[in-house]
Symmetry: C2
Subunit: 481 residues, 2 copies
């Protein structure tokens, strides 16, 4: 049993600040009042406890109220990525079989392909309220959120994140990072990703303020770091890079109260680490995924230079092993175990268990050194991480292969100065076609960050004896071009 987070928190520390956004602040008591209003309005819109809904919004304060309202009501929330195309959204909504899609009005264009009931936030906001009894406790196995992540097949899988997954993740993290009465976590990561959502969870469990930004604004964010109005934050490398440039341009350092810059979504370039140290920004590199409800391993800032390229050690309640590696430094697939690991998927992957003997195979290749520090040497399934977003080659290949003039296609990642990596496509045509047309074809069907930044026409693709595409060969081709 796990206490209903916001209900318990609003009882324990009603007057602590829970949330700030622009110039406004809300205590936990006020946050609960706002969330309760939305919960009752959802109920009046015929959303009932245990129903599954999808949310499509941005990282603003109304979205936080609706998320907490949905949790108080007890529904399962499919968190939709607002960068997806309407086709991608329709696919996920269909797969998740939700009762309704609730969307911020600005995203009306994104839901035109769905078959399900859809309700704009403006309608919820003006709705009547319908009372209900708030559950005091949740079962540990209760699904709180569902987030879609692609994989080797190119079909997104809806990952269940339970009350226990989220709770143990937040608890493991506090044992690693500590907790102070004055802590305030800056949230510039999308709430529909686990990186952003997990900040909301920490807030209610810790009784900690979240400082929310709808968009990443390097000047304002740097102000907060310099003034010490925030003490912790999560970033991906592309944001870190801009923050460092800003700090260097201003010739200032972070405030002494600023304690943690949690950097996820791929490894941080060494250059950034030394520049961050000069700016007195403690970088903690972390390794996590949707299936583990945020961090599995985290490298402390004091180890950053001594253990270059490492993702650190597991958090307290987690375990990491390298498959079939009896000794340190042996490379193999990274396996993860712990109360933060998803019990499974929904929709068409419902019957696929993600675990082998209780362990989650990540597909990533890595090793543990003599001291037990994790190093990732090769990303799962040729995963491309672009600006912190996961991009799976298979998903892009599936789209391009559907074009009438494309005979074969292979996609791989290429180093990108801003985004870390970006997808590049190699195409064997069956009929003459312009690159521009193929890009347009993708634009209608794929989120912007998935669209290839380069297209190369080739005679044939590298395949092995069983005709399997060798994406690593594509990478090799890139380096010779």
């Amino acid at each position: 049993m796990i206490p209903n987070w916001l209900r318990q928190r609003a009882y324990l520390t009603p007057n602590k600040i829970a949330l700030s956004y622009k110039d406004e602040k809300w205590t936990f008591k006020e946050l609960k009042q706002q969330a309760m209003r939305y919960a009752k309005q959802l109920k009046a819109q015929h959303i009932l406890p245990s129903d599954r809904i999808a949310l499509l919004g941005t990282s603003n304060v109304e979205m936080v109220f609706i998320i907490h309202g949905a949790m108080l009501l007890g529904v399962e929330i499919v968190m939709l990525n607002n960068r997806l195309t309407k086709e991608e959204i329709a696919w996920q909504v269909d797969d998740a079989n939700v009762k309704a899609v609730l969307y911020a009005d600005q995203f009306e264009d994104k839901i035109t392909s769905i078959q399900t009931t859809s309700i704009p936030f403006s309608v919820v906001r003006e709705s009547e309220e319908n009372v209900f009894e708030v559950e005091r406790n949740w079962s540990s196995e209760k699904t709180i959120t569902i987030m879609y992540t692609s994989g080797t097949t190119g079909f997104p899988k809806g990952v269940r994140q339970t009350a226990e997954n989220h709770t143990s993740s937040a608890l493991s993290s506090v044992l690693n990072l500590g907790l102070d009465e004055e802590d305030c976590w800056l949230c510039i990561m999308p709430l529909f990703h686990i990186s952003g959502f997990s900040i909301l969870v920490r807030s209610v469990l810790y009784g900690m303020e979240v400082r929310l930004y709808e968009k990443f604004d390097v000047k304002k964010v740097t102000d907060e770091i310099v003034k010490g109005t925030v003490t912790r934050m999560s970033v991906v490398s592309v944001m870190l890079s801009q923050i460092l440039e800003e700090l260097e341009a201003r010739e200032v350092t972070a405030h002494a109260a600023f304690k943690t810059m949690l950097a996820g979504g791929g490894s941080v370039p060494v250059d950034y680490l030394s520049r961050a140290a000069a700016c007195e920004i403690p970088i903690l590199q972390t390794y996590g995924m949707t299936e583990t409800s945020s961090q599995t391993a985290t490298l402390s800032s004091t180890d950053a230079m001594r253990k270059l390229g490492s993702a650190g050690k597991p958090l307290f309640f987690n375990e990491i092993k390298i498959k079939d590696a009896e000794k340190p430094n042996k490379h193999g697939e990274v396996f993860i175990k712990g109360p933060h690991v998803t019990p499974g998927y929904i929709g068409r992957f419902k019957d696929h268990t993600p675990l082998e003997d209780g362990w989650l195979p990540t597909g990533d290749i890595g090793y543990l050194d003599e001291e037990g520090y994790l190093y990732i040497v090769d990303r799962r399934s040729d995963l491309i991480i672009s600006g912190g977003e996961n991009v799976y080659p298979a998903e892009i290949e599936n789209v391009l292969a559907a074009h009438p003039n494309v005979r074969e296609v292979g996609v791989c990642g290429k180093t990108h100065p801003k985004w870390g990596e970006a997808p590049v496509a190699f195409i064997v045509l069956s009929d003459v076609t312009r690159k521009k047309e193929l890009i347009e074809f993708c634009t209608e069907r794929l989120a912007k960050y998935k669209i290839p930044t380069e297209i190369h026409f080739v005679e044939q693709l590298p395949r092995n004896a069983s005709n399997k595409l060798l994406r690593r060969e594509l990478k090799a081709w890139l380096s010779t071009q």
Copy 2:
């Protein structure tokens, strides 16, 4: 599943300080090495994983090594109170049916009445070592410790404290108190009580230093508080009183780094609260018991004066309710629920479930105010808390009733200037006897703190229509004497 605490902690932060005692310090790696040596020596003494043993020692560093060694080996540990008489110890050892009693050599006199194998620490310390494989994880239900607590019947009950009980207690506490890299918890509470043992648990879960004292030394402890060499500590009122006197005599205040004085074992006098505030000691009053593996509710220091006499609010994962109280301020029995509540007893109380519908009835009478703060108005089963030790009248009555010249006896608590309370006996004699003889009779059979400080001979005892002893009437007699 819960990671084997010390194994995981020594892997994650091997070089952090785990323990300090007098002028020595041990890192988590060193603590594990020491504990492993004792674990292998226990194994060589034929103690096997899953066996149940009893430990009788003081709060010194060898005791910590043996406790951790026993946990690494995977045995259940009955923590014996070293203030008990040999008869009381023999009773518990017999009830617990342990494989062996391990004792500090100085307590040889205390184990002369037991029937079970006994091994002095000096023999363990010199023993050969026998290797074994350390478990990576424990099941949540695994019994880690057993602590005896008396009750209404006067017969001590062996309370099981599981891996989950201890773990959730430490996690709830960290969400309430926070955690800092530099934290160091001063331990002057006995390790055989949950108040002391829980500090060891927090240490391994948090990666936090414990500063251990074998005995409470007011001058040294005050030095630590003033210098800020410790940041948190647990006390009972009698210690707090001495620390305040010492601070006042020296005309100094606590160091700014000193953050938490957790005060348990009965409510803290108002006078102490204001004096503590003047000395800049943040007092957090707490309500807990053996059955809840330490704190259930804790009052923050900022609420201390506003909520005088309150034990605070429950910790995050816990719930408190007042039986049959529909509204605030209604008095009734205090019920507790949460992952920190014992699943039950061992020995002769094995089949007595402590829970009613998932809730632990405490026997204490209290109420929750409008804001949900807990107030205890009457202690369970006429419990007397003397210097932090629980004393049950029935246990003393059972002993005195066995004296040939005693016809009837009733015991109650009387306010004591030093210990808060102390037991007082009312006796109806069947034959002339001197008080001194009765005190000697008790001394052989009862721990010192249980021996009545006063004996009153009376003609008859106050009883109700069903002949039940009315202990509250005894209290009333005291005030008229």
